[in-house]
């Protein structure tokens, strides 16, 4: 170790790796992983989301899951919650749509209107 700066760089990287344990990133994504969601392909949606986040190095996003919310027909459901913005619920999400959600909504703040089934004030 030659300097504090070098230590800080290693630390930054390491922090990203364990951020999930801080429990709250600035953006939270919730995927419906009830039996209905899984049957409709939510596992692949989840995999796509994780892959996309990983590729883009977006580790301050926390991804969690929830059970059936009673909208089985609309599964897979994906919620995006950003600090200070309404909660957006997307329905019938495919892996491709999930990747778009990351690129457009999470990064560029553009909600994908055609896939939204509900929004709720925070």
């Amino acid at each position: 170790m030659k300097s504090l700066k070098e230590l800080d760089q290693i630390r930054e990287k390491a922090l990203e790796m364990t951020r999930v344990r801080q429990g709250q990133g600035l953006v939270k994504i919730v995927v419906g992983l009830g039996t209905c969601g899984i049957a409709a392909g939510a596992r692949d949606v989840m995999a796509a989301i994780l892959d996309e986040l990983s590729k883009r190095g977006l580790t301050s996003v926390t991804v969690s899951q929830t059970g059936c919310v009673g909208l089985c027909d609309q599964e897979p459901l994906v919620d995006v919650i950003k600090a200070g913005e309404p909660r957006v619920t997307y329905g019938r999400v495919t892996p491709e749509v999930a990747r778009k959600i990351i690129a457009q909504h999470v990064i560029n703040h553009q909600v994908l209107g055609e896939w939204v089934i509900a929004t709720k004030e925070a």
């Binding site: 030659k2 300097s3 790796m17 899984i38 994780l50 991804v63």
Partner: protein
């Protein structure tokens, strides 16, 4: 770098190991893989989380949900219900003894609400075998700060200002110790980390080393810089195999990153650490006996003075500190003396790690501000006595400490207040006993311990501990008379003053404290030849014969 949506933390401390955490962890890894979740969910081994009574514990992030007393049979359900379907496994949540609703996350537990975690800041949160996890929490920042922005004298001034006192038992001011060692003349100076932890009922150093070994290495390196020492030894009990394994790994990792070794942070400061194992004699935790043992000699104390800071290990100026003391150093350097002094009491700032054992609901490891009362620890954190039995006494400070009765439950716990009450803070062992225990029988156990552990080098201890045991034993057999207690008292007076080291000097303390607070029970044994709790079988047998 891999991104996982969920981290599942499994306690891998020794206490949970004894309850089968390894099988639980392996089952978890297998089940996660079987469900094809291994790209989404990461299983992480951590050090002790403190809730040993409830082990093996599992914490699932990002939600932070805590599952208790898990078994291999529970794993498929946890994986399916929580990780796959996103629902809670209600039956494995922690249930407060009085609360109606199960508790989801650890911080909501009464057990954790009152705790302040400085020393245990990373225990149960990081994987102790991955140095990056320590770095992520700000690890080695304090060392970097000290080496690149502070002079050794400034480091010492900060520790002095923080009023950090040694957590190994005696409570000696750490900054002062470092200053003595810095000023002493010597061709080479040493730092020693005391991880002998021989005090019965104490297991905090083990869990600190298992849960966060780098915090101790960082403290030692800072101490080395302050004192002017380029080498450190950790003297650790041989049976602490997991601590030793993790320490070894931590030392290798620190060397690889250049956090130990030559020219650390480009400051010109060199420091390295070596582990030496002990064989488990209680006296080898005493600093001068420890030096003897570390040098390869027989573990017997030396005459003081000279003090270790003048002539310690290999006759050179040495600063020896307890593991917990060392783990406090980095946070003080990072956050400053004022912050540290804002915790705890005026004369003893900071926190103390206690190990709770005996007849108490939540046995385990806790860290609380100095000055907290026994009552708060036992009832608010510990959940009270087990099985609804009546509290009788608490022994503070381990076997060298005293027993406190119900009336003294509100004594603030720090070095001075506990000493004034005839007990000691010691290493932070808290042994709780309910009213089914006979006080004289308990005293006999203490006496037996000292008789066994006396190294035999000095007469007052070698003979005194033996006589003390014989006298107390006589009481439990109904063979004592009115002369016995005056004899014990006279013997104690002699022993407080004459033995070579504190082992003998404190041996009478626990016995005298039981005499002070539970005299009537002694009187029943001596005058009425009766053991009120029915524990002392010999006395009953003797009475029968007499009948």
């Amino acid at each position: 770098m891999e991104f996982y949506r969920s981290h599942v933390l499994v306690c891998a401390g020794t206490n949970c190991s004894l309850k089968g955490n390894r099988a639980v962890r392996e089952a978890l890894v297998q089940e996660v893989a079987r469900r094809k979740l291994d790209r989404e969910v990461k299983v992480v081994e951590t050090g002790c989380f403190g809730l040993c009574e409830q082990g093996p514990t599992i914490v699932i992030y990002p939600e932070g949900v805590l599952y208790c007393q898990t078994t291999v049979a529970d794993i498929p359900e946890i994986v399916e219900t929580h990780l796959l379907k996103g629902r809670l496994v209600q039956r494995l949540l922690y249930k407060e003894p009085v609360a109606t609703k199960p508790v989801q996350t650890a911080p909501e537990l009464d057990y954790f609400k009152r705790q302040v975690r400085v020393v245990l800041r990373n225990c149960g949160l990081i994987n102790p075998e991955v140095v990056e996890e320590y770095l992520a929490q700000g690890g080695y920042q304090a060392l970097g700060k000290a080496l690149t922005t502070m002079s050794p004298d400034e480091v010492i001034a900060t520790i002095k200002n923080a009023k950090l006192r040694g957590r190994g038992g005696a409570g000696f001011p750490t900054g002062l110790k470092w200053e003595f060692a810095r000023k002493a003349a010597g061709s080479r100076k040493y730092i020693v980390g005391n991880a002998d932890e021989g005090e019965p009922g104490t297991f905090k150093d083990r869990l600190i080393l298992e849960g966060d070994p780098h915090s101790v290495l960082e403290g030692m390196a800072i101490a080395g810089y302050a004192v002017g020492a380029d080498y450190g030894y950790i003297y650790i009990r041989g049976e602490y195999t997991l601590s030793i394994k993790r320490l070894k790994l931590a030392i290798e990792q620190a060397r690889k990153l250049g956090l130990l070794g030559r020219d650390i942070f480009g400051s010109g400061f060199d420091f390295d650490v070596e582990i030496r194992t002990g064989a488990g004699a209680y006296v080898c935790g005493e600093e001068t006996a420890l030096f003897e043992s570390l040098e390869g000699g027989r573990g017997e104390p030396r005459v003081k003075p000279p003090y270790p800071t003048d002539a310690g290990l290999f006759g050179q100026p040495t600063s020896i500190n307890n593991v917990e003391t060392l783990a406090n150093v980095a946070p003080i350097i990072s956050r400053g003396a004022d912050w540290f002094r804002s915790l705890g009491t005026e004369r003893t700032p900071g926190t103390k790690v206690f190990t709770l054992t005996g007849d108490i609901v939540n046995e385990g490891l806790i860290e609380v501000p100095m000055g907290i009362t026994l009552r708060e620890v036992i009832y608010d954190i510990g959940g009270g006595t087990k099985d609804g039995k009546t509290f009788k006494m608490a022994q503070t400070g381990g076997t060298s400490g005293g027993c406190l009765p119900q009336e003294l439950l509100d004594v603030p716990m720090d070095y001075d207040n506990l000493a004034a009450a005839g007990s000691a803070l010691g290493s932070g062992a808290l042994l709780i006993m309910d009213d089914t225990h006979c006080i004289v029988d308990v005293a006999k156990c203490f006496a037996r311990f000292f008789e066994h552990e006396s190294c035999g080098k000095c007469v007052p201890c070698r003979e005194g501990t033996m006589r003390l045991y014989q006298l107390v034993d006589k009481i439990t057999r109904g063979e004592a008379d009115e002369g016995t207690i005056p004899l014990i008292t006279a013997l104690a007076e002699m022993m407080y003053k004459s033995p070579l080291c504190p082992l003998g000097q404190t041996a009478p303390l626990p016995i005298m404290s039981t005499l002070k607070y539970f005299r009537d029970e002694y009187d029943a044994h001596i005058n009425e030849k009766r053991c009120p709790t029915g524990t002392c079988k010999a006395i009953a047998a003797r009475v029968q014969v007499a009948d």
